[in-house]
């Protein structure tokens, strides 16, 4: 298994290197992202979990061919989620800090990008290197993207200083953006991700029928056992259309499968409308997500050693998530102010609704195991941010 994965990595790397060598010869391109700064506050509330924090991004071009970016992101988590309640643990708080540094180099119509992301919590660390190439082709009607990332995670466990495990992650991406008509832009993306290592959540348990209960109405808990590898494939198509009046329609579809037996569909449609000649722009979108459960998922296993892999993460179950997004943006300093070219203040709200088909609310232990009501929850997501271009 290991040799297959490393072979895959080698051949993909070789392909990327070959592509890198070729791309500049194809055509001349490209523009670097605009210089900007963003300050965002985010807040998620749902399912007994509150997560909030800031995100700051600064991007600056140098010598017209280099662009550097830095992002600092924080999740302050306060959790008494259903997983925590079922396992009998108490509410906990923690913080995740994430730093991201990016460097882009534009040469002709090719943009080379390097990035590094570091994420740390008290019991989880992750570092990811990424590399991307973007190439404009055919009179700049087409942009081809290719990328590779390598991540390495360290998993620890609170109250168990002796526990430490690792995960290696590889991601390979190819994308195409195409101007089809004067008003229509389309995109296609493919991404393959492979993980290898300790993929469990060390705190989460699966449940099985209590063998010492002859009535079969109670259950016991045991630490989940996951496979040590997972490979997923995702392919997406998206489109953005400029309407006859000044407004945009957009839509996307993504198909996903993985080696754990999960399949998923994501559909999103949205509309953006600048309000007459005012500085206001309004937007709204709907998103529908549906997935099937992993092969080794069950809400309640018959015995403790029912099969080799056993998990009860609701993320691995069969469920639907329907969400609605609305947003308002206010543009200021459109004709420039001091060093600012323009700016926006934005307020976004998303409502998420998760409905599980085979994950039950086991937090009430008075009910017969396996007859509890199916779980569902709603979440509110707020974003407030200021963007300036300079």
């Amino acid at each position: 298994m290991q040799s297959r994965i490393s072979l895959g990595t080698t051949s993909w790397l070789a392909m990327l290197l070959a592509a890198m060598a070729l791309l500049p010869a194809l055509a001349p391109a490209g523009t670097l992202p605009e210089d900007r700064a963003d300050l965002l506050y985010h807040r998620y509330e749902g399912g007994g979990v509150t997560i909030q924090g800031p995100s700051v991004l600064v991007r600056k071009t140098m010598a017209e061919k280099y662009s550097v970016s830095a992002n600092y992101y924080v999740d302050m988590i306060s959790s008494a989620s259903i997983d925590v309640r079922v396992s009998g643990a108490s509410r906990y708080s923690e913080q995740r800090n994430q730093y991201n540094l990016g460097f882009d180099y534009l040469r002709g119509k090719t943009t080379y990008s390097l990035g590094y992301t570091d994420s740390s919590e008290n019991d989880y660390k992750a570092g990811t290197f990424s590399f991307n190439i973007a190439q404009d082709l055919f009179g700049d009607l087409t942009t081809l993207n290719m990328g590779f990332s390598k991540g390495s995670d360290t998993v620890r466990k609170r109250n168990d200083p002796g526990f430490e495990a690792g995960i290696d992650r590889w991601s390979y991406r190819v994308g195409l953006t195409q101007i089809l008509t004067k008003r229509l832009l389309m995109g296609a993306n493919l991404e393959v991700i492979t993980d290898q290592g300790y993929l469990n959540n060390p705190y989460r348990s699966f449940r099985y029928l209590d063998p010492e209960d002859p009535t079969g109405s109670s259950y016991r808990l045991a630490t989940e056992i996951y496979p040590r590898t997972r490979t997923s494939n995702a392919i997406s198509l998206s489109a953005r259309y400029f309407l006859p009046y000044r407004a945009a329609l957009h839509g996307s579809y993504r198909f996903f499968t993985d080696t754990w037996g999960i399949g998923a569909h994501t559909i999103e449609v949205g509309y953006v409308h600048p309000w007459k000649s005012t500085p206001w722009t309004f937007e709204a979108s709907m998103r529908f997500y549906r997935q099937s459960h992993a092969d080794f998922y069950a809400d309640l296993f018959a015995t403790r050693d029912f099969q080799n892999f056993m998990g009860r993460d609701k993320e691995l179950s069969t469920f639907t998530n329907k969400s609605l997004h609305v947003g308002a943006s206010y543009a200021f300093a459109n004709s420039g102010w001091r060093f600012i070219k323009r700016g926006t203040v934005n307020l976004f709200y998303d409502r998420l609704m998760f409905d599980y088909d085979d994950f039950r609310d086991a937090s009430n232990r008075g009910l017969v195991a396996g007859t509890e009501p199916l779980y569902s929850f709603g979440a509110n997501v707020f974003q407030c941010f200021v963007s300036i271009w300079f």
Binding site: S3, S11, M15, A25, L26, A27, D38, L40, Y44, S55, L57, N71, Y73, Q98, G115, T117, S119, E121, T128, S130, N132, L137, G139, G147, S149, G151, S152, I167, R169, R173, T177, I179, L180, R183, G187, N189, E191, I193, S232, A234, I235, R240, F242, A247, A248, R254, F256, D258, I262, A264, P274, Y289, Q291, E315, N321, D350, F354, Q383, F385, S387
Partner: protein, 85 residues
């Protein structure tokens, strides 16, 4: 074992050769006349047509979904992930 190594190298070489061929073919297509002229692309210069107008916001919302859904990847941004659970 030796055979496996050889076929592995062969596969890599085959893939590279395929890519070089595709590249050369694409290079030959470099003279395709753009059917939407540069002066006809003002719609794409409008910020409402940007594929990722708010990268900080889209990275955040992608993370909100990725932490709660099994599907991942192909979201169109530069990707890379944070490896956070």
């Amino acid at each position: 074992m030796r055979d496996t190594g050889f076929s592995a190298r062969a596969t890599v070489l085959q893939r590279c050769a395929m890519l070089v061929t595709i590249g050369l073919m694409l290079g030959g297509c470099g003279n395709i006349e753009p059917w939407v002229k540069p002066y006809e692309r003002q719609a794409f210069a409008d910020p409402i047509m940007a594929l990722d107008a708010n990268p900080v916001s889209s990275a955040y919302i992608d993370h909100v979904y990725e932490a709660r859904e099994s599907a991942r990847g192909a979201v169109g941004s530069s990707g890379g992930g944070c490896g956070c659970n």
